[in-house]
Amino acid sequence: MSEPIIQRSGERHDALADAATASHATPYAQPEPTQQDAVPMEAPVFRLRDVTVAYGGTPAVKDIDLDVQASRITALIGPSGCGKSTVLRCLNRMNDLVLDASVSGEVLYHGQDIYASHVDPVEVRKLVGMVFQKPNPFPKSIYDNIAFGPRVLGMKGSMDEIVETALRRAALWDEVKDRLKQSAYGMSGGQQQRLCIARALATDPDVILMDEPCSALDPISTARIEDLLLELRRTYAIVIVTHNMQQAARVSDRTAFFTVELDEGERHRTGRIIEFDATEKIFQNPADARTEAYVTGKVG
């Protein structure tokens, strides 16, 4: 086996990160329990089969097959414009907001097809949380940002408790507990993004979708959020789109490599998944030459 192509970056004194690294020491291609898990692998939270997304009739991504497991971080990597965000947005039907988007194939959430005709996208989004590339807190207080989701969903229970739990889970409570009523816009970029994570957690989803959550942040904030992801992994399934290969290698358990190809006889480039496997395998021993070219930096 060749030398690890991507070195783990140093300076990790967080015990959880150590645990994560320990788990990656055991490569797995088939779903099997690792050191870190005390629970067996269950049926996947999301299962995509033959998913194609087209805008105005032109396919943007084709033939997507993907599984998202609970308590795992799944990374979607690849060059710009190959449909990673498009696939991510299928999982909570945010693609519906684009006027001429159409989705074919199967997107199963706990076995239920979320694109079935009787399914209301609003209901899907209550169960699947999303964090965006650029932090987008509401122009309200920190408290009201977190409380918005639970209020709108009509969640029962003490709102104060819900807000505190969400902020604790996002590792933000200690920093803001004394200024909950202040505007969210007074926070730094990294704090705002953790606020957005807390906001997504407040509605108690079991999947969190993240679209390049750190690309607008400085390295220190990025590191804090990556630590947070490893902590959140214990409770949630996380799908993260990232341009940062090292980030994918650092935090994810499984990685899907996307690229754009011009098929025979077609005029448009469509995105596809070339390889989807354990992160360790993708980065150290990829099966496809295109994957290797990307992760070794030969192509952008």
Partner: protein, 291 residues
């Protein structure tokens, strides 16, 4: 090889450039100086009668005794009622056009075209509309406060719609996406996030629309006419007059004293407008969010 010396500006360019600049200056000056002349003349003319009498007396055939109280109260009634009618409809239309309407549908494009056209229809045509449907015709309200308010509401509605749309448009889409991704419905997103964030812009736009309504006389000439109103409005079905109409009334009298009175009333009207616009600008500067 040609010279590498940098020449000074050519004589011709200096002359032409200077003349051009002067011409542009004159253009600006025309507007500004006329404004100054207008304000100065009006204040000077109305000065002898500028006192609280103008505000508190009622019109009379004796210029010494006349005042504009009925007109001022009439303006408050009519414009107040106009605000109540036009703002909800205008904001509602703006929300529909910005958040719900699919631009590809022909009926939505028709609505947009209508609004743009109505913004430029002569105000007296609105008076004709009001005369045909509100004063006589279908609603047959007579020359009343309600008929006047309905007419003015239609007149300023395009302004309310256009400015409200801009306010809604200025709310970044990332806010909507964030709310929808949490599982909010479209209306929940609009009501709880988009509208609250766009209120400063809407308030400014509405105040400007109402400033326009306060100064309108032409449509109301057809609706309330030049009847001699010496009482404050008592209800929606009351006859009325408004300040611009009262001013017009006094201008039309041959006696010079009434012209002085008209000038004084104009000063009151201008002060009122300056106050309203001042509030609008204050609101805009204080609450306008820079996203």
């Amino acid at each position: 090889m040609s010279s590498t010396q940098i020449a000074p500006t050519s004589q011709r360019e200096r002359v032409m450039g200077g003349l051009f600049r002067a011409a542009l200056f004159v253009s600006l000056a025309v507007g500004i100086l006329t404004l100054a002349w207008l304000i100065f003349s009006v204040v000077k003319e109305g000065w002898p009668r500028l006192s609280l009498d103008v505000l508190f007396h009622f019109p009379s055939s004796n210029p010494e005794l006349a005042g504009a109280q009925s007109a001022i109260m009439g303006t408050i009634w009519v414009v107040g009622l106009t605000a109540l009618i036009t703002i909800p409809i205008g904001v509602g239309a703006a929300i529909y056009l910005e958040e719900y309407a699919d631009r590809d549908r022909w009926w939505n494009r028709l609505i947009e075209l209508n609004i743009q056209n109505l913004a430029a229809v002569p105000s007296i045509v609105y008076g004709i509309l009001g005369l045909a449907f509100f004063v006589r015709g279908f609603l047959d309200l007579g020359q009343t406060v309600l008929a006047a308010a309905l007419t003015l509401s239609l007149l300023v509605l395009p302004i309310v719609i256009i400015s409200s749309r801009e306010a809604i448009r200025s709310v970044p889409d990332s806010i909507r996406q964030g709310a929808l991704a949490l599982g909010a419905t479209q209306w929940q997103t609009i009501w709880r996030q988009v509208l609250p964030a766009s209120i400063p812009g809407m308030a400014t736009g509405s105040i400007l629309a109402l400033s326009r309504a306060i100064g309108e006389a032409a449509p109301l000439v057809l609706l309330g006419g030049l009847t001699f109103i010496t009482f404050n409005p008592e209800g929606l079905d009351s006859a009325f007059t408004v300040l611009p109409i009262q001013i017009f009334n006094w201008i039309s009298r041959p006696q010079e004293e009434f012209h002085v009175l008209a000038a004084a009333a104009i000063v009151v009207l201008l002060v009122l407008l300056v106050a309203m616009n001042g509030i609008a600008i204050f609101l805009r500067n204080k609450y306008q969010r820079k996203w």
